[in-house]
C-alpha cells in the first residue's frame, strides 16, 4: 500500500491557480524528488501536505488514513490538524531555527511540549525528558554535530543550521520528511555537507519528498522524479526516464542547461 496518496489537489491564491489537479503516490522508504522552475507550484504542494496551506480541492491520504478531503467539510479544528501534520516533517529553505535556543534545545523543544500532553506526564516527567534528550543527542550526532550541540544558531554556518533543522524535523519521527529547496540558501561548499546527510537518510530508507534545483543530486538520490510545470505534473518516472530521457519538450527545455554542463 502506498504510504502517501495525493489526489486531484488544487489551490488558488487570489486569482492565480497555483496547483491544477496534482495527483501522485509514493511507497514507504522511497525518495521522491520534485523538480521544476520557480513558480511551478512545488513549494505550495509541500505546504499543502504540511497543512500550512489548505487545498481548495483534493484528497491527501497517509497509510490509508484520509488526512484531508475537500469533500468532507468536517476537516477538523486546530487540534485535529496538529495531530495530522505530525505525519509530515518539513525542512525549510531558510532553516527557521529558533534563535534563542541552542542546537540541542531546538531539536528537543517540540518533543518536550508534546510530552506535556501525555496523561502520565507528571509521574514520568524525568524519564520522558531524558529519552527526548538522548534521542536529540543521537540525531545531532548522526548529522555530524556532536561538538555543536550547545551552540546557538548564529554561531553555526548555514550548512550546520540546516543539519540542525533536519535533526529537529526527524525528532518527531514523521512518516514522510519534506525538504523545500534545502540547499538554495547555501553556497556550493556548504551544499555538499547538507546533501551528504540527506543521501545518508535515503540510504536508510527514510521516506522523503525533496524539492530541489540540484539536478545531479535528484538524479542520484531519488527513486522517483516529478517534473512540475505551471501547477501541473508534466512528467514523472524514474530519474533515468525523467532527467536523462525526458519525453516532454518543456522538460527537455528545463533540463537543457543541466545537460549542457554535464556533457
Amino acid at each position: 500500500m502506498a504510504i502517501l496518496e495525493v489526489q486531484h489537489i488544487q489551490k488558488t491564491f487570489e486569482r492565480t491557480q497555483v496547483l491544477k489537479d496534482i495527483s501522485f503516490s509514493m511507497e514507504k522508504g522511497q525518495t521522491v524528488s520534485i523538480i521544476g522552475s520557480s513558480g511551478s507550484g512545488k513549494t505550495t504542494l509541500l505546504r499543502c501536505l504540511n497543512f500550512l496551506e489548505r487545498p481548495d480541492h483534493g484528497v491527501i491520504r497517509v497509510n490509508g488514513e484520509t488526512l484531508f478531503d475537500s469533500a468532507d467539510p468536517a476537516a477538523g479544528g486546530e487540534r485535529e490538524i496538529r495531530r495530522k501534520r505530525l505525519h509530515f516533517g518539513l525542512v525549510f529553505q531558510s532553516f527557521n531555527l529558533f534563535p534563542q535556543y541552542t542546537a540541542l534545545q531546538n531539536v528537543m523543544l517540540a518533543g518536550q511540549l508534546l510530552a506535556q500532553e501525555a496523561p502520565d506526564y507528571k509521574a514520568r516527567k524525568k524519564e520522558l525528558l531524558l529519552a527526548i534528550e538522548q534521542q536529540a543527542r543521537e540525531l545531532l550526532g548522526q548529522m555530524g554535530l556532536s561538538d555543536r550541540m550547545e551552540n546557538y544558531p548564529h554561531q553555526l554556518s548555514g550548512g550546520q543550521c540546516q543539519r540542525v533543522a533536519i535533526a529537529r524535523a526527524l525528532a518527531l519521527t514523521p512518516d514522510i520528511l519534506c525538504f523545500d529547496e534545502p540547499t538554495s540558501a547555501l553556497d556550493p561548499e556548504l551544499t555538499g555537507e547538507v546533501l551528504h546527510v540527506i543521501r545518508e537518510l535515503a540510504d536508510k530508507e527514510t521516506t522523503m519528498i525533496i524539492v530541489t534545483h540540484e539536478m545531479a543530486f535528484a538524479r542520484d538520490v531519488a527513486d522517483h522524479v516529478i517534473f512540475m510545470d505551471d501547477g501541473t505534473i508534466l512528467e514523472q518516472g524514474t530519474p533515468r526516464e525523467v532527467i536523462e530521457n525526458p519525453k516532454e519538450e518543456r522538460t527537455r527545455q528545463f533540463l537543457a542547461r543541466f545537460h549542457q554542463e554535464t556533457r
Binding site: L52, P99, Q100, L113, L114, L172
Partner: protein, 228 residues
C-alpha cells in the same frame, strides 16, 4: 555663595518632595502604559476592521497632538465644559488627571513599538512551530515572545528616558513635581525668593535618574545579547 549654602538644605528638601511626585508619575505611567499599549497593539493588528480602525485612529490623534494639550484637555474639559469635575480638587485630582493623560499617551507610543516588534518576527518562525505540532499559544510564548522583547528593548529604552523628562509637562496643570518645586523659589517660598538656581539644579535629578535607568536598560540589553 554664603547665601546658597544657607538656602541649600531648604531647597533640597523641597526638590526631594517634588521629585518623589515626578517618580510616582513615572512609575504609574509605565505600569499603566505597558499593558494598555499591548492591548492597543493587538487592536491595531486585529482582523476585525472597526477595532483596527479605532485603534489606529486613537494612535493618530494621541501621537499627532502635543502631550501638553492632552494634559490641559483631560484636566479642564470635564469641569469647565461638561460641568462635572471628575478629578476632585487639589494635588490628588491633578495627579489623577496627569496619570490618565500620560498612560494614554505613552500607551499609544508603546503600541507602535510592540506592533513593530511583533511584525518584525519572520513568519517562518510561526511556520516552523506549526509544522512541529505546536499550538498558537506555545508558539507565542515559547518562540516569539523573547525575540519580540529583545527587539523592543532599545526603542523602549528611548521612550522610557523621554518619559522621565516628559513628566515635567505636568507642571502645566500645576502638579507639584520637581520643576514646580524648583520654580517656587523664584516666586517666593519658605523665605527664599528670586532664586533661579534651584530651577537649574533640578536638571541634576533628571541626569542622575536617567543615568541609573540607562545603566539598567543597557544591562537588560546585554543580557539578551546571547542570541541574534
Amino acid at each position: 555663595m554664603q547665601l546658597i549654602l544657607e538656602q541649600f538644605p531648604i531647597v533640597i528638601r523641597s526638590l526631594n518632595i517634588g521629585f518623589l511626585q515626578t517618580l510616582k508619575l513615572f512609575f504609574v505611567t509605565l505600569i499603566g502604559a505597558f499593558p494598555l499599549g499591548l492591548v492597543i497593539a493587538f487592536g491595531s493588528m486585529s482582523h476585525f476592521r472597526p477595532l483596527r480602525y479605532f485603534s489606529r485612529f486613537l494612535v493618530w490623534i494621541i501621537r499627532g497632538t502635543p502631550l501638553m494639550i492632552q494634559l490641559l484637555i483631560f484636566y479642564y474639559f470635564p469641569g469647565l465644559v461638561l460641568h462635572t469635575p471628575i478629578w476632585g480638587s487639589g494635588e490628588r485630582g491633578r495627579f489623577l488627571a496627569a496619570s490618565i493623560s500620560f498612560i494614554l499617551n505613552y500607551a499609544c507610543y508603546f503600541s507602535e513599538i510592540y506592533r513593530g516588534g511583533i511584525q518584525s518576527i519572520p513568519v517562518g518562525q510561526t511556520e516552523a512551530g506549526l509544522v512541529l505540532g505546536m499550538t498558537r499559544r506555545q508558539i507565542f510564548f515559547k518562540i516569539k515572545l523573547l525575540q519580540m522583547v529583545k527587539r523592543i528593548v532599545p526603542p523602549m529604552s528611548n521612550e522610557i528616558i523621554t518619559l522621565v523628562k516628559d513628566t515635567s509637562l505636568s507642571r502645566i496643570i500645576a502638579l507639584q513635581e520637581i520643576i514646580w518645586a524648583g520654580q517656587s523659589f523664584l516666586k517666593g517660598s519658605q523665605g527664599i525668593s528670586g532664586a533661579i538656581w534651584p530651577l537649574f539644579f533640578t536638571a541634576v535629578y533628571y541626569l542622575i535618574w536617567n543615568g541609573l535607568l540607562t545603566t539598567l536598560l543597557g544591562y537588560l540589553e546585554r543580557r539578551l545579547d546571547y542570541f541574534k
